[in-house]
Symmetry: C2
Subunit: 354 residues, 2 copies
């Protein structure tokens, strides 16, 4: 494998000096790009896109051809694990993800196993290997997975949910079953991420999309504890290179100090948190990734540049910041605004790395 | 007007000694009650229910006949103000609220006026007067309004929204127009709440349902500043009785200290915040209201009782706590679980008020 030509992203996650602040964008391979929509239309459905390594590789690389992004992220879905467990993931046009089977009780939990990444999730590993090859060391490749709690919500509810009443009822009234499910999920995620690292992922991120729907107490017991279990099992170095781990709980701004204690390398921040305050809270334990409001992307280059300047000034001097949005970029965004964002981050940040 | 037979709610908001922790429930007059659904069905649509004082009074009182709640809350909607401004509020079955006209630019803002509560919102004032009379001093009546930022989102988007891109674009790219709109809304809300107080409301609450969708900086500039403007204008004493003011920003757990600085009497908490930490953050400046996860209500009396005990223990000794859910009770909840909640709060809290 070739050495990295641009290692700004990895260095920032490890809080090593950089020349400018690196940037990538959640959902950077996505529907706001016409070339993505073209490949997606040809593929027919979303799962075909995810499960065909050549197509997943192509859309992963698309945003890097347009913008000077400092990292690529595997094009995939957080629900590949429950799908590989046999729940039958499918997408209906205009609706969220759904599962044919759901998890309701201890017997359902006993029936699921930990997927072998090179068997049931082989298409993901093949995509990682192909992307690494095609990237040719230009920028690092990020692997990812959903957090155990977030995966559990989809598996118990059978799809997206607003209130998570079924999943929360399991936590509140049948904690033993919930813990068994989350343990299996944590071990599956750790196995899956380690396989991604083995296949070529140079950093990994755990997306806890729904941790913010829990109380402080339940977050620590049912979400954070299982991200800790994952962090404990991850491969942290490969071929002499550190493999940084990023944890991101959307709506988790109140719990940053506890998240930093897991031993991860970086925390993702949504936009509700002020990054200056976040840096004070976590000290030099972890790097921070984020956190521009995605709604800013719907404005214009001048407004975007001004908000970039605010966030960079809030973070202040030194390494340890990876610029990103606080959540995924949405389909309505003009790609010209993305170019303006990337340029603004690189231009304006130089002064903070003298 | 008669003296209050049960003033536990008012006393707790003012951090005066009480015998037990008072409780009321957001949306306590609502669809989980069969008697509410009956009146609602007869009324035909939701707006008829809101705008007919006899019906609004009837549904306000229904939960008090079943449960030993320590306060009544006016049955109404936060969108009565933009409706009175001429935007034409309507509800389509199974969908959220919608407006016939929307606000897009400075001219639209110039065209709206501050409604006279005894003219355009007379039906609300009549409902307040009728409810106060029917309550006969048994428990206090809470008046309420939406926050300026929250009202603005509905007026600019034309209804509910997920991302608030239109409203946020106004904040980000045309701040002057946004500030004009929010100023008119703050003055309208203050006028409206003062009229509710004049008509008989004994405490008032401002619901900032969507403040949590903003960054820290934008929250302070576009939401909190206008709640401050309201607090500054409110009648705080009537007939020798203090009129407490409660501010509630859903998702605002990161901003409690700044909210406490407004001079309000109490802060509403959603369930993501630990109430022990919230109490530490706000000190003795304000009382706290909340904050059980509404999902607990979908379980059973034992689980509810156990979570009530946790929250009461977290708050600890002394007055300054009004028990509530962290958000509105949902239609699927069994009324027997509400009875269990109210009893648990009253029973278990006695030990903290010795």
């Amino acid at each position: 494998m070739s050495e990295l030509k641009n290692d700004r992203f990895i260095r920032a996650l490890l809080r090593q000096p950089v020349d400018k602040t690196p940037i990538w964008i959640m959902r950077q391979a996505g529907r706001y790009l016409p070339e993505y929509r073209e490949v997606r239309a040809k593929a027919g459905d979303f799962m075909t896109l995810c499960s065909t390594p050549e197509l997943a590789c192509e859309v992963t690389l698309q945003p890097l051809r347009r913008f000077e992004l400092d990292a690529a992220i595997l094009f995939s879905d957080i629900l590949t694990i429950p799908d590989a467990m046999g729940l039958g993931l499918y997408f209906e046009e205009g609706e969220g993800p759904k599962f044919k089977k759901t998890i309701s009780n201890a017997q359902d939990v006993a029936n699921i196993g930990i997927p072998d990444p090179e068997l049931e999730l082989r298409y993901v590993m093949d995509a990682v290997r192909l992307i690494r090859k095609e990237l040719d060391g230009n920028v690092p490749l990020i692997g990812f997975a959903g957090s155990p709690w977030t995966l559990a919500t989809y598996m118990v509810e059978g799809g997206s949910s607003r209130d998570f009443y079924k999943t929360k009822s399991m936590l509140f009234s049948d904690g033993a079953t919930a813990h068994q499910l989350l343990t299996k999920l944590a071990d599956s995620v750790a196995t899956y991420l380690n396989a991604q690292i083995e296949a070529g992922a140079q950093a990994v991120m755990v997306f806890d999309s729904w941790g913010g729907a829990l109380t402080s107490r339940h977050y620590k017991e049912f979400s954070l504890a299982y991200m800790q279990r994952i962090v404990n099992q991850l491969t942290r170095e490969k071929d002499g290179q550190k493999i940084p781990v990023i944890l991101f709980t959307k709506g988790g701004g109140l719990w940053l100090p506890e998240m930093a204690e897991t031993g991860c390398d970086a925390l993702g921040l949504d936009w509700s948190v002020n990054i200056a305050q976040a840096r004070k809270l976590v000290g030099d334990r972890v790097a921070l990734q984020g956190n521009m409001d995605p709604a800013i992307m719907a404005t214009n280059p001048e407004t975007i540049r001004s908000e970039v300047a605010n966030i960079l000034a809030d973070f202040g001097n030194g390494s340890g910041h990876v610029f990103n949005l606080g959540h995924g970029i949405t389909p309505s965004i003009n790609p010209e605004n993305v170019a303006a964002l990337v340029d603004a981050v690189h231009d304006i940040s130089v002064q903070y790395h003298q």
